[in-house]
């Protein structure tokens, strides 16, 4: 590893905590970002020569804070009315930073930093973009590429999102236990969104925007702050398990490889072991939640050395408990896969037909329905279902996968017609 890359690593790993503290001081996202940026520039100038400080995070907060205050003073001289409310709590600049950092402050700082990105008025894509920009420090360019928009457009989106957050007012009071738990749930959902954004696009298309890795990093960070939260253990385990299959999910030419057809030797054993350890820890709390159940389902797949060993009965039961905790047609759709393995395609079809109306715009519904109809030998209906799925596909890989089914069906139908 080169001299500069360890500095990069130290800066990016210090970012959430330093940004969180600077946001608490300045109560302004842009100012906190500028201050952090300035501190990083100084680190890159001085660390190679003097060596890293003993506590890089405290160093960055201290330097960032001073540079932010300088900035505010300059602005105050230029503006007729100094922003008193911004300067009012900057008196204790020289206060004992180390002591402040050792308190429980930093935990709420980081949670707040994550939480402001999850403002309910922001659409999911903006929450994701904001979190990756502000918390993870990904460049606008990286994020823009991942969302397939221009850099300028992404810049504008992020600016607009920040504006909405500022207008809504940032939550600066220290949260009580109840609102802390609420924030945690909201932040967990956002981290899951970040992961899914990377997961659904597939590894190759987003090689230079590692959303899945970032989500896992954020989830681990959250778990370190709240080490006794079984749902955060579940979330981390779930992400690790999904991500453990990354090398097996796509074929050489980018087509989707289904779970049962994947080369399981390509699964990341290390990630799986870590996830299983987290699930074990979570179970001790006897407080099941949706991430834990989803992780447990993913773990049953991970434990099966070959697809035939999959414990579909247990998976079916877990989906049933998920349906109770978090009723949703998508959960039922997922359960239908387990039902088809246990009781055959007709039972699964009976389970999903009532969902037709609510899931009419959902790719996976038509894909699964087509597959079940195909197994039942109802080729023409299967064909229609696959046609609808293809029209709803959002990535070339999804469309390509359904195309394979259609081609196979076309051969069946041609044979039947002869």
């Amino acid at each position: 590893m080169s001299e500069l890359s360890w500095i990069d690593l130290a800066l990016s790993s210090a970012r959430p905590q330093a940004m969180g503290a600077l946001l608490r001081y300045f109560r302004d996202l842009d100012l906190a970002e500028e201050a952090f940026q300035e501190a990083c520039l100084r680190a890159v100038r001085t660390w190679p020569e003097k060596g890293p400080p003993r506590d890089p995070v405290a160093w960055l907060i201290f330097v960032g804070r001073n540079s932010g205050i300088d900035h505010l003073r300059k602005r105050a001289r230029q503006e007729p009315l100094p922003p008193e409310e911004l300067l009012s709590d900057l008196d204790d600049v020289e206060g004992d930073l180390a002591e402040r950092l050792d308190g429980s402050h930093y935990r709420d700082d980081i949670l707040r930093l994550l939480f402001v990105c999850c403002h309910p008025e922001l659409p999911a894509t903006q929450q994701i973009a904001l979190a990756l920009r502000i918390v993870s420090g990904l460049s606008v360019r990286q994020i823009a590429r991942a969302f397939l928009v221009s850099e300028a457009a992404m810049e504008q989106r992020i600016t607009r999102a920040k504006g909405r957050i500022a207008a809504a007012g940032l939550p600066f009071e220290a949260p009580d236990a109840v609102s802390r738990t609420e924030r945690l749930g909201v932040v967990a959902a956002m981290i899951y969104l970040v992961f899914n954004e990377g997961y659904s696009a597939g590894e190759k298309q987003r090689a230079d925007a590692p959303f899945c890795e970032e989500a896992i990093r954020l989830s681990r960070l959250l778990l370190r702050l709240f080490p006794a939260e079984p749902e955060i253990m579940g979330l981390t385990a779930l992400l690790l398990l999904q991500h453990s299959r990354r090398s097996a999910r796509f074929g050489a030419d980018g087509q989707i490889v289904l779970l049962e057809d994947q080369d399981r030797s390509l699964w990341d054993k290390r990630a799986i072991r870590e996830a299983l350890a987290l699930i074990d820890k979570a179970l001790r709390h006897r407080a099941p939640g949706s991430y834990q159940i989803q992780a447990a389902i993913a773990a049953l797949h991970a434990r099966a050395e070959v697809a035939e060993q999959t414990d579909w009965e247990q998976i079916d039961l877990l989906y049933q408990s998920l349906e109770r905790i978090q009723p949703s047609p998508v959960v039922t759709l997922n359960r239908a896969v387990a039902v088809s393995k246990r009781h055959g395609p007709q039972a699964a079809l009976d389970l999903i037909e009532p969902l037709a109306e609510r899931l009419s715009g959902y790719f996976y519904f038509h894909g699964l329905r087509g597959g079940l109809l195909q197994q039942l030998g109802r080729a023409r209906e299967a064909h229609d279902a696959f046609e609808r799925a293809i029209a709803l596909a959002t990535t070339p890989a999804e469309a390509g996968h359904i195309r394979q089914h259609l081609d196979a069906l076309a051969r069946d139908i041609a044979i039947l017609a002869k």
Partner: protein
Amino acid sequence: MLYAVLCYNSEDAVAAWSREEEDKVMSDLAAVERKYAAAGKLGPVARLMPTTAATTLRKSPGESFVVDGPFAETKEQFLGFFLVDMETLDEAIAFARELAVANPGVGAYEIRPLRVFKPGGSLEAL
């Protein structure tokens, strides 16, 4: 003398390694390990999962209780260890220096002589 060389580093920083960085560090460390193993000086080597996977049993006068997470919250975490058999402390420090070259940046190696060592049965390697 038997020494434990204990590895401390910021696990945030280690978790942020790219796959290339991770592979490079691991293969450089493996080269150091091979050298000392060939000389009959290297014992067990372990790399620990992140502290988020840790559970701690706290002893107390009544019943011990189990808590999630590592024993202590620290800025640098205990991430793994090497057991080595060295003639002198200088030799142990030289080993740690080689580790530091293979895995540069922040962090530290604590060199701690062993008082008792029970090698135990052979566990399956991960």
